[in-house]
């Protein structure tokens, strides 16, 4: 027995934990790896400052060569990309796939098919399902189903609170370990500031971001559209901008106080953008997003109120708000674009405006709307627009798609000059509640490679002879 000085007792918190493998976040159906040679497309990856017309070879689902005069190996599909643009495929961290519980509106298969058609290679599904994703059991069931059905890699969000009731916390540590990508009660706000604060503190053991639907129901109650001149004229109850901006200001302060990251979803108002801008200047750990429909449309689109496809939450607001969102996207206040793809059945949206459910689909039109209504108009540079369509997964731990040798193939081939009429050829989504129905848009997605597999080809985009 040695009689040296006693070994100091180390507190438990300092003891190194055994290394645990990082949980798998993304799940996709098994399929054959892409074997492709894309000839002569304009490669455009803003993160790598890549803008070059050249060839790309994908072997076994991985980008194996970029350059001219690449010889196509055996069993390789050759795609004529001349006149087309190849982007890293897009990422949407805010979609509703309605599984489980509402699969008549959308399911994992149709929703990921719609995403692939829009040029997306990754999506994060929200948790406001039935039952909500507030337990490891539901999460793992979804992951297993995605491994069967998902055309593109899907990650799943878990709820912040049990049952999304805004009171008790869900098992955040277990859910994070099981591969949840984000905590979110999206659909409903976390009204109680005390609950939000505790959620932020506790989730440090989980290490994920809290994504928040920012709405004060006491201000928005009874409203179906933006509170303004249009709602006053129509006699439809209004949702004032302060119902969003007041909560954003509150939550930014709480995040700053706790030093934990929060992400604010679907911004719609100038005051909200300003609140986030000020919070970021103070160094608060806040990020936020905006949707294509909020960037493209205003409350004037509600028209005579007979079409509930213009009803969503938060609502379309004024031109001044739209300009503020564009400015926010340009100066970095708004971190990325996310669709908040929210399918509803036709008969549900056929109800009178005030009765119909909130929400519009957006995956299949996202890039075309951004390109047509913002890039072609000169409001956004193509490089910035594309970057904001791709970078949305990073804060949630998803790997960013890149066009570089050695990267897994996550690509979308787009004909920027071709036009299409929204909805004319039907929808990949089960639902058709789009606020762009009937519009003629530029930019047609021809092909999407997601997670190394060809996930989508446009109907008219023929497979060419193997060389």
């Amino acid at each position: 027995m040695s009689s040296g000085p006693p070994t100091p007792i180390r507190p438990l918190a300092e003891m190194p934990l055994p290394p645990t493998p990082a949980p798998q976040l993304l799940y996709q159906r098994g399929g054959s790896d892409a074997q492709l040679l894309i000839r002569g497309a304009r490669l455009f990856d803003p993160a790598l400052e890549l803008d070059e017309t050249t060839d790309v070879l994908v072997v076994d689902g991985v980008i194996s060569a970029i350059g001219t005069d690449i010889k196509a190996p055996d069993d390789c599909e050759v795609v004529d990309g001349s006149g087309k643009t190849l982007f890293p495929a897009f990422v949407d961290p805010h979609v509703h796939l309605r599984t489980p519980g509402f699969t008549y509106k959308e399911d994992l298969e149709s929703g990921t098919r719609a995403a692939a058609a829009g040029g997306f290679c990754q999506v994060i599904a929200m948790a406001n399902t039935n039952p909500p994703v507030d337990s490891v059991a539901v999460l793992q069931a979804l992951q297993r189903q995605a491994a069967e059905d998902a055309h593109i890699p899907v990650a799943f969000g878990a709820t912040v609170t049990r049952g999304m009731r805004g009171a008790e916390l869900s098992d955040m540590h277990a859910l994070a370990k099981a591969g949840a990508a984000v905590f979110t009660d999206d659909g409903v706000p976390i009204a109680d500031a005390g609950v939000l604060r505790r959620a932020l503190r506790y989730q440090a053991v989980a290490g994920l971001v809290l994504a928040l639907h920012e709405e004060d129901h006491t201000l928005s109650a009874g409203g179906s559209m933006h509170e303004g001149v249009v709602s006053a004229r129509l006699g439809i109850g209004g949702i004032p901008s302060i119902s969003e901006s007041a909560i954003i200001a509150r939550d930014a302060l709480i995040a700053e106080y706790e030093g934990q990251p929060i992400h604010m979803q679907h911004l719609s108002a100038r005051e909200s953008v300003q609140a986030v801008r000020e919070a970021k200047l103070r160094g608060a750990p806040v990020t936020c997003e905006a949707s294509p429909h909020h960037l493209a449309l205003t409350d004037a689109a509600v028209g005579d109120g007979s079409d509930a496809c213009f009803k969503m939450n938060p609502p379309l607001r004024t031109e001044d708000d739209r300009q503020a969102l564009i400015e926010g996207l340009c100066d970095g206040t708004i971190d990325f674009i996310a669709t908040d793809h929210a399918p509803h059945a036709g008969y549900e949206k056929d109800e009178p405006f005030e009765d119909a459910p909130f929400g519009v689909i957006g995956l299949e039109t996202a890039f075309s709307v951004i390109y047509t209504d913002l890039v072609l108009t000169g409001d956004l540079e193509l490089a910035l627009a594309v970057d904001r369509m791709i970078c949305g997964g990073e804060i949630f731990g998803l790997p960013r798609p890149r066009i570089a040798e050695g990267e897994p193939a996550n690509l979308c081939l787009v004909d920027l000059d071709a036009t299409w009429v929204v909805g004319e050829a039907g929808w990949q989504s089960k639902s058709s509640n789009s606020c762009f129905q009937g519009r003629t848009l530029s930019a047609v997605v021809l092909m999407t490679i997601a997670g190394g597999q060809v996930a989508y080809r446009a109907r008219s985009f023929a497979i060419q002879e193997v060389e």
Partner: protein, 315 residues
């Protein structure tokens, strides 16, 4: 014009045409309330998905005086109670090939939606808080009968403007006919955006003594429980129109039903300068005019049609 969905978008000429037709019908049918064969053999559907006494009975009578066959569908007692959608209800009723569908609904734009689903002429009898065009027409008709053209008239609309389809329609109609409109009520019930519709916005009755017409809206008691108003007493003390506030030279109007003792004191409802009864009476002939204008197939000059009708009546 195929439908009458709203006053918005109607020109002064179009409004005056309805009023002129109402006058002509009033003189033809006379005090004996003679029937006209205008809609004989044709079907009118009255679809009332919201409570109504005045409007529904008025449309009923108007269609009958034009010899139409009438189908009345109300929410209670119909499959709407079973949850049948508006669209399915309309498609069912369309099977009867109605010439016109009159729609009242608690939802904005319902009449427009119905018009999208049917070839029948659609008349909006009140869609949520949006518009009540035939109310505005009968109010304009009543006022014109009493005072002549409305140009330069000073009209105050007093009460719960926010929730009032009558206010929205009447502001547009009175302005189109040349009147100046002021809306007045508690700040929580008068949206500031109404100033952008071209009317004055006031939160107190001060100045209303200069109005030619005071048009009072019904105040629902629920507005207290919903937190828009602190109490009935606060509303009454500031906004109730009573004999003290209503000048002998001012005309009083109200779309009904009246909450006696709330927005109107008992003593003014039946005062000689109240036009409330005349408004109800005007309702039938104005709605006959709407049916007539939308449905009569006359390529014939109006004068001749009037003559034909008179001949039929005297035979």
């Amino acid at each position: 014009m195929r439908n009458l969905l709203e006053i918005e978008g109607l020109s002064r000429e179009q409004i005056e045409r309805f009023l002129a037709r109402a006058e002509s019908l009033a003189s033809i049918t006379g005090s004996e309330k003679k029937k006209l064969p205008t809609l004989s053999g044709r079907t009118v559907v009255n679809l009332f998905l919201e409570a109504s006494t005045r409007t529904s009975t008025s449309f009923d009578l108007a269609a009958k005086r034009l010899s139409a066959d009438i189908i009345s569908v109300r929410s209670d007692g119909s499959s709407v109670e079973k949850g049948e959608s508006l669209k399915d209800t309309v498609q069912t009723l369309t099977a009867y090939e109605p010439a016109a569908i009159v729609v009242r609904s608690p939802h904005v734009a319902s009449a427009q939606m119905v018009a999208n689903w049917t070839n029948a002429a659609v008349i909006n009898a009140g869609d949520g808080k949006h518009e009540h065009p035939t109310q505005a027409l009968l109010d304009a008709y009543t006022l014109r009968n009493r005072l002549g053209p409305l140009d330069g008239l000073n009209v105050w609309i007093v009460g719960d403007i926010l929730h009032s389809r009558v206010a929205r329609s009447n502001i547009l109609a009175f302005q189109q006919l040349g009147a100046d409109v002021t809306v007045c009520g508690p700040p929580t019930l008068v949206p500031r955006e109404f100033a952008e519709l071209g009317c004055e916005v006031r939160y107190s009755l001060a100045g209303s003594e200069h109005a030619d017409v005071i048009y009072v809206l019904r105040l629902q008691r629920e507005r207290m429980t919903q937190g828009h108003l602190p109490s009935m007493g606060e509303y009454i003390s500031q906004y109730q129109i009573n004999a003290r506030r209503l000048g002998a030279n001012q005309l009083l109007m109200h779309p009904g039903p009246v909450n006696r003792g709330v927005e109107l004191a008992d003593d003014v409802v039946d005062a000689p300068n109240s036009l409330i009864t005349q408004q109800v009476q005007a309702g039938v002939v104005v709605r006959m005019a709407v049916f007539y204008e939308l449905l009569s197939t006359g390529n014939v000059d109006d004068g001749e049609q009037m003559k034909v009708a008179t001949v039929e009546l005297t035979r």
